[in-house]
């Protein structure tokens, strides 16, 4: 995936919200990242360190809430999670599975230091 572009976007969103809130600096950001989103945490953290230097987000901590995948069987209604690859329903073996959660890639909030 595009961890550099994604990190740039995180920084932009944070900057956009920090200024109107009267921030001197951003202390931390809380992200919700789904298990199925394809987000590579290690790469993002690496890019974050580099991109935030000299910005209002320099030194800000990235707090990542991992949202597990939530799968629903459309046949029998069973709800289950994902351990490895996608599998049919563990109860009725149907392949008709809906992904109900785990694709999130969002910024929930930031903590800022104000004057």
């Amino acid at each position: 995936m595009h961890e550099l572009a994604i990190t740039e976007n995180i920084l932009e969103v944070a900057k956009t919200h920090a200024a109107p809130a009267g921030a001197r600096k951003v202390l931390s950001l809380t992200l919700s990242i789904g298990q199925l989103s394809g987000f590579v945490e290690e790469s993002v953290r690496f890019c974050w360190e580099l991109l935030t230097q000299g910005t209002i987000c320099e030194g800000a901590n990235l707090i990542i809430r991992q949202i597990p995948a939530e799968l629903h069987c459309l046949e029998c209604g069973e709800k289950f999670g994902l351990t490895h690859e996608l599998i049919p329903c563990p109860v009725c073996a149907s392949a008709r599975i809906r992904i109900a959660g785990g694709e999130e890639m969002q910024i929930d909030s930031i903590e800022i230091e104000t004057d």
Binding site: I6, H17, M105, D108, E111
Partner: protein
């Protein structure tokens, strides 16, 4: 030092989402149905588009946007030779189209004079899945020689699509490909997705695909 908590709740790719919404508005106000076609390099995106043009151009005015990473017009040239207006986007090495690039291409098309806009994304089974373009429908063209395990290995791209085309079915007798294993992978990711088996080379299955696409275009026009 006083501190404050600022709720945001915004998608990381919200900037691209906003551009995608703008694209969608422009397309809707011009009455154009836009289709995004994604696939591995060589699966048959360009061939599928050419067959689609052959099937639908008597009844619909079609335009094409081509996305390529190299500064070539190979695919756009084929579209123009087939009699439809085409815009070539060179991503400059980028591995997917995004909403901004597509939006820029609109200025080179007479959208008011089109019924169907087909976007051929960069050949890639990974990145295009993440970037919303603001089109009405997205499909993937799979192909028999790629192998039957691609849905298991590249799940994300198969999830958000409205239809899956399996191309090069004329090669089924010659390459190992288990259609049931393939189909199950697709169903796990996208239950009930419309599925078409075609060969651009022989023409088999193109009619069913064209019927589906025609219905999509007409239902949007209301």
């Amino acid at each position: 030092m006083p501190s404050a908590h600022v709720p945001i709740v915004e998608r990381i790719l919200s900037a691209n989402d906003r551009l995608a919404e703008q694209n969608r508005s422009l397309l809707d106000s011009a009455g154009v149905f836009a289709l995004n076609i994604m696939a591995s390099p060589g699966a048959g995106k360009t061939s599928t588009i050419l067959e689609t043009i052959r099937a639908l151009s008597p009844n619909f005015k079609i335009g094409v946007v081509e996305g390529d990473t190299a500064p070539v017009t190979i695919d756009a040239d084929k579209m123009v030779a087939a009699g439809v207006p085409a815009v070539q986007i060179n991503t400059g090495g980028g591995c997917h189209l995004d909403a901004g690039m597509l939006g820029n291409a609109f200025s080179q098309l007479d959208l008011q004079n089109l019924d169907l806009l087909i976007v051929e994304n960069v050949g890639n089974l990974v990145c295009p899945a993440t970037f919303n373009l603001g089109v009405h429908s997205s499909i993937v063209v799979a192909s028999v020689p790629e192998g039957d395990d691609k849905p298991y290995k590249y799940p994300k791209i198969y999830r958000g699509i409205d239809a899956l085309i399996l191309n090069k079915i004329d090669l089924l007798p010659y390459v190992p490909f288990n259609p049931d294993y393939f189909r199950q992978g697709i169903e796990l990711l996208n239950p009930g997705v419309s599925f078409f088996r075609i060969s651009c080379r022989t023409g088999e299955g193109i009619d069913d695909w064209a019927v589906w696409l025609r219905a999509q275009i007409q239902s949007r026009k209301g």
